[in-house]
């Protein structure tokens, strides 16, 4: 009787603690960070400007200018602007050039900022 009690006691203890030994395996979840693909556009091709020739025409040299044009086989016609409009044209061109430069610089700065290894998102 005494031995049976002992065995029962040990069996009872094993029954209580048995499930805690070993147990279920834990699922491991891990993530691998993959950097975003780079947008590798080439920078825009630089412009190649064609040369234009300005002719200044005054009341004094008008006949001579037209005669020269005819001699050179060029249609004797000129598209004119006044001296004031010439200044405006020069200013407009300067502003277009500045905008182009500003946009190109911004593009470079963005590229540098986002493609720099320290700032890669």
């Amino acid at each position: 009787m005494y031995h049976i009690n002992k065995i029962l006691a040990v069996a009872f203890i094993l029954l209580l603690t048995g499930c805690s030994i070993g147990g279920e395996k834990k699922i491991k979840i891990f993530s691998v960070e993959k950097p975003r693909e780079k947008l590798n556009y080439e920078m825009p091709t630089p412009l190649q400007m064609e040369e234009i020739k300005w002719i200044i025409i005054t009341s004094a040299n008008a006949d001579e200018v037209f005669k020269k044009l005819e001699e050179a086989g060029i249609d004797p016609v000129l598209f004119g602007i006044t001296d004031k409009d010439f200044q405006v044209l020069a200013r407009n061109f300067a502003q277009i050039r500045q905008k182009l430069q500003e946009t190109n610089n911004l593009l470079e700065e963005y590229k540098k900022y986002y493609e720099d290894s320290n700032n890669t998102q």
Binding site: A9, L47, E51, T58, F93, Q101, N119
Partner: protein
């Protein structure tokens, strides 16, 4: 009577030992959890430190970029002022000058047009020529956009 007491004592002993075993196992499990927590906290602190450093670097890069763009915009303003000055300096009237010295002004206008076209090429990303890079004298620069065309030219104040 005696055997019953013995049995109770034995039972208590066995239960005590088993309880101690379970308690040790619980302590070990707690220890493992605490170690994992500690590891997570350390990783989190490291991540936060990295993030702060990154933010500092980003802020510095943004400030530098802003500074560069501000300098560029100031250069633009100066270039436009210079252009206006070229037409109006000392009450200059380009129209009257063109009547008086037609050929000379025509030459100047054509040269200016050529220079302005080159400025547009450079602004669109064209490479500088060696001559442009070497220019340090006023007579050698492209006066339409010296800051852009001749980076090594330092104008006298």
């Amino acid at each position: 009577m005696f055997s019953s007491i013995r049995m109770v004592i034995t039972m208590l002993l066995i239960t005590g030992i088993a309880g101690a075993g379970v308690y040790v196992m619980k302590l070990r499990a707690d220890n493992a959890t605490l170690k994992a927590n500690q590891l997570k906290l350390e990783t989190a602190i490291e991540d936060q430190t990295k993030l702060l450093e990154q933010q500092k670097a980003d802020f510095k890069a943004i400030m530098e970029s802003n500074k560069k763009l501000n300098i560029l915009i100031n250069t633009f303003k100066k270039d436009l002022e210079d252009l206006d000055q070229r037409f109006t300096k000392k009450n200059r009237d380009i129209g009257k000058l063109a009547i008086k010295r037609t050929e000379a002004i025509e030459r100047i206008v054509n040269k200016g047009g050529k220079n302005a076209a080159r400025c547009i090429e450079l602004a669109s990303g064209a490479e500088h020529t060696e001559e442009e890079l070497k220019a340090t004298l006023k007579s050698k620069i492209n006066p339409e956009c010296p800051a852009l065309a001749n980076p090594n030219y330092v104008p006298h104040q």
